[in-house]
Symmetry: C2
Subunit: 588 residues, 2 copies
């Protein structure tokens, strides 16, 4: 037996006990006549004591040979520490070591294994096994494990079945790019790795399983922006005989349970907001509700007053930054430059300071008098001391720009408080998006999403413009400005599904070849059904107030999709390609 | 809301309640003045009643239009049934329907959706969504879900962390053939799908996670024998600071818990048997201990008595079939033919009937007298009324043949009782297997398996013959003749790992290119560790006394690795190959 206790277990009440501990040498402090080693494992740190009184010269000598990250087994007696450390639970005791075994030595690690490390990203990804020893990373991975367990417990208690769906499926043209897997037994044919178990979970509803979930890996071969991973994890769920209302309530319940069980937090109400409202009030389909700063549209008040920049545009819209009237000229200029950066793309920024003395100072004083600006202030709910920031231009673009500005002001004003969680359901998404460039419709959610009941007839009979106005029974769960889940009620009628594929540009043959099995299933008694999928990596990050999902993945890939530790992907033996009847073509 | 209750919920105590049920029409029985529909969901079946007294003519008409597998919503009052059905929990009640909604119609299913079906394998795989509606299949899938939940609960309670390992990893030449995934972002390079998370779970031990598990898909591109699947599921586990003893105890605990929680069964003791003993006593490394019929070696008694067939061979070995002395000549001939089939390959079968009257009748009476045969009987523990069956030949082959015969006799004599579960740890497997054909060693378990402590020195310094005699800290969990789990203590020392790779025919460069990251990790404080993996599909089948894992997989593939429902694999668009810089070569 390698240990009687972990390095996080011993307390003052254990003094006098003979124990055996195993772990890693975190630090070695040699004081000459005595020597301390902090022994670490995932449960904590315990101090080992060697000194001339209790240890033989050989033992002290051996302890002196120990370096950082050596793996040790120490036998000894628990004793009360002379100088206690109240920062750790084991800080009142130490082990008077009588026997030490060096289970494995360690070279000097390439970076320090501590809460803060001096290792750069690349080095830490290459030596991921060492980075994973650091406390903050260990805690993330342990959090993720607990989150998975709690999710499963809760959903199982609610009657959900976890059912595994296949990883070797079929490539479909819809959505993101698939990873493909050549089949040796079926030459010239390929599997694809699933982007989600979407069609399979719908099939399970047709099969009568009623309540399905799975915590499951999904794959997308996309160009990797920061914080995207080619493989990621979903909490994937589907229910039969439900309306949108049932689903929202069920997964509000799950979310509440997870926050309570993992963080001890009772979430506030989950308000609902239509997609249209969210765009109009926040310029985003995932507004961060930790702070207000809602949009105020100023067209009526601000247009036709002689300011040409406003007069010619579709939308004049602003936000009120509480208490920012004292911003200096320099600060306002800097904000203006900020919104003019190419990533944001605003042409300019109009500001109106509502001074503490009730006067106004703005960048448009030439065109608007005090009364005008008081009118803006009243509409925006601005008080003396506030700063109004106004953008103008094409409606959709301007809203997006103002959303960025709102978030930036929220950051600058410290309004995105860690530990504050504001959930929101965004509902009534459009069914289809028209893309001007390719002149076709795209599914806003995916091709299996149902239009709202009241829109079904219009969808089956309407013309092109009607299609643009169809609303879907689709919903997103947003927390603090992050989309952590999304789903929809699905089509369960073959005719409606055929119509949807046609709108999305599928020929009948293509629809049949790709999704014939699903439409076939709809002919044999498909129940009404719908579901949702949570981004599990994202949920981990959001619950911990962090922004990077990579920190919650044990073995993440870098922006080129590479695993730096194992050095994958890599060339394969030519015979492997021969067996698959494939050849490499020229790489430019 | 689509339903107030499931179809398995209502009881006599609910009589009088207004309820809404949704489900599938299992049967429609039209009696003219009244009509019954059995409404089914995964929770049960409830009878719907329509009759001229309570239902409007329109409602009766509508009910008559219902066909098998239609999806219905029925509103009505719970009533006591006139003729009760005590075979189902809802059998005392029925619903007097006042409102019926046909949620979806169904074409006539291609096979009957019932416990026994008339559908053939191919048809049921194509219409898997209908096959999955059948009660026995649903129960398998629900069992699997519960087994997963219980496994996770138990391991989490024992302090294990579930940590996800990547699916896009690197191809390695060792073991079975990998499925490969071309990387678009890294042209000319490939990921591989994991055959198991082996190296990653070892890395997690080096990282200090201590107790890891994962229920995880694994992939092997093998020619599919019956009951193999290209993707299958493992309960994958690893622990640090443990000996073989710790692991055996921990996973005996898991197995006991699962049998108790899922089947209400207290498993008997888990005996341990060395690989050598298992081969000598049962001719198999996974003996079925539900019955005895152990091997008795007869060389001493049976050789050099003038029977040349025996005299020239390495091994004469037999089993005693209790109570089979009355086998007719025809039965014995048939058994002889059975062992001579090419799959078994025995040259012949010697039988000795120990008649009830104490006399012997054998196929070797010419060479052995009564005293000789009495000696055999004594050694084999045979009693009057028994039948001794003896094979002779090269030791390994003969043991394997006698193993087959023992199992066949077990089947014929009904000794493999359903509901009887006999677990067994087989331990001390050889480390290496010498392959005469390729003239090289193969890892019996895998290249990361540690030799037993007492064999380490011999491994580092010994010659070729020594290597054949090395024993590993490797173990299998066998239940009723099925291997349901296997694992080992791993090497955690770089030098020993290098030596093992060399023995397995790796050059230093190959070992470094494939597993450099792992050997690198061993240099930075790798703890002693070991683990085990359970075949999850197999465990499901064994716990239910079934032989096919396919019945416990929601969407299995056929023997050609095809998903018949979605028709995968399939050709991909040529542009997809172009993007991957791949071209199809000629397929013969």
């Amino acid at each position: 037996m390698y240990r009687t206790h972990t390095c996080g277990a011993l307390r003052i009440s254990d003094v006098g006990q003979e124990v055996v501990l195993s772990g890693w040498a975190q630090t070695v402090r040699d004081k000459g006549y005595m020597l301390f080693i902090d022994l670490r494992d995932r449960y904590g740190v315990t101090q080992l004591l060697f000194n001339e009184d209790i240890s033989s010269p050989e033992l002290l000598e051996q302890a002196r040979s120990v370096g950082r990250e050596f793996v040790l087994q120490a036998k000894g007696k628990v004793a009360e520490r002379a100088s206690k450390n109240d920062k750790i639970p084991t800080g009142e005791v130490e082990i008077e070591v009588t026997e030490l075994t060096i289970l494995n030595a360690s070279s000097v690690p390439p970076f320090t294994i501590d809460d803060d490390t001096d290792g750069g990203d690349d080095l830490r990804m290459k030596y991921r096994y060492l980075d994973l020893r650091r406390r903050p990373v260990q805690e993330n991975i342990m959090f993720r494990s607990r989150l998975g367990i709690e999710t499963r417990k809760h959903l199982a208690d609610e009657g959900f079945l976890e059912i595994e769906t296949p990883f070797l499926i079929k490539s479909t043209p819809e959505g993101a790019r698939d990873f493909v897997v050549p089949s040796r037994m079926n030459p010239g044919q390929f599997y694809a790795l699933p982007q989600s178990p979407q069609t399979f979970k719908q099939i399970l509803m047709v099969s009568g399983f009623d309540k399905y979930f799975q915590i499951v890996k999904c794959f997308r071969d996309e160009d990797l922006r920061a914080d995207r991973q080619p493989e990621f994890t979903q909490i994937d769920c589907e229910m039969a005989f439900v309306t949108q209302e049932d689903i929202l309530n069920t997964f509000e319940g799950l979310t509440r349970h997870l926050f309570k069980a993992l963080k001890g937090i009772d979430l506030p109400a989950f308000p609902r907001m239509t997609y249209d409202d969210a765009m109009r009030r926040f310029g985003s389909d995932k507004p961060d509700l930790r702070f207000g700063m809602e949009f105020t549209e100023l067209n009526e008040l601000a247009q036709h007053k002689g300011f040409k920049v406003f007069d010619s545009v579709e939308l004049v819209v602003g936000i009120n930054a509480t208490g920012c009237a004292a911003y200096t000229r320099k600060q306002v200029d800097e904000l203006t430059q900020w919104v003019q950066r190419p990533q944001i793309g605003a042409k300019g920024l109009v500001y109106v300071k509502y001074n503490e003395d009730g006067t106004f100072k703005s960048s448009v004083d030439k065109f608007f008098n005090t009364e005008d600006l008081k009118g803006w202030a009243d509409k925006m709910g601005a008080q003396p001391g506030d700063l109004m920031l106004v953008l103008a231009g094409e409606a959709d673009k301007t809203r997006k720009q103002l959303n960025e500005l709102r978030l930036e002001m929220g950051r600058r004003l410290g309004l995105m408080k860690p530990g504050d969680f504001k959930p929101l359901w965004v509902v009534d998404f459009p069914l289809l998006e028209w893309d001007e460039e390719t002149e076709r419709f795209y599914a806003m959610h995916h091709p299996f999403t149902s239009p709202k009941k009241e829109d079904v007839a219009r969808m089956l009979s309407g013309g092109h413009e009607t299609m643009k106005s169809l609303r879907a029974d689709a919903y997103d769960l947003v927390i603090n400005g992050s989309e952590i889940g999304g789903g929809s009620i699905r089509i369960h009628d073959r005719k409606l599904q055929e119509k949807n594929f046609k709108l999305l540009g599928f020929t009948d043959e293509e629809a049949e070849a790709q999704f014939g099995f699903l439409m076939g299933a709809f002919e044999y008694g498909a129940p009404p059904h719908g579901g949702i999928a949570f981004g599990f990596d994202r949920l981990c990050a959001v619950m911990n107030g962090q922004s990077s999902i990579r920190d919650f993945i044990a073995f993440p890939k870098n922006n080129m999709g590479r695993d730096m530790m194992i050095d994958a992907p890599a060339p394969v033996h030519p015979e492997q390609l021969d067996e698959l009847h494939l050849a490499q073509t020229k790489i430019d």
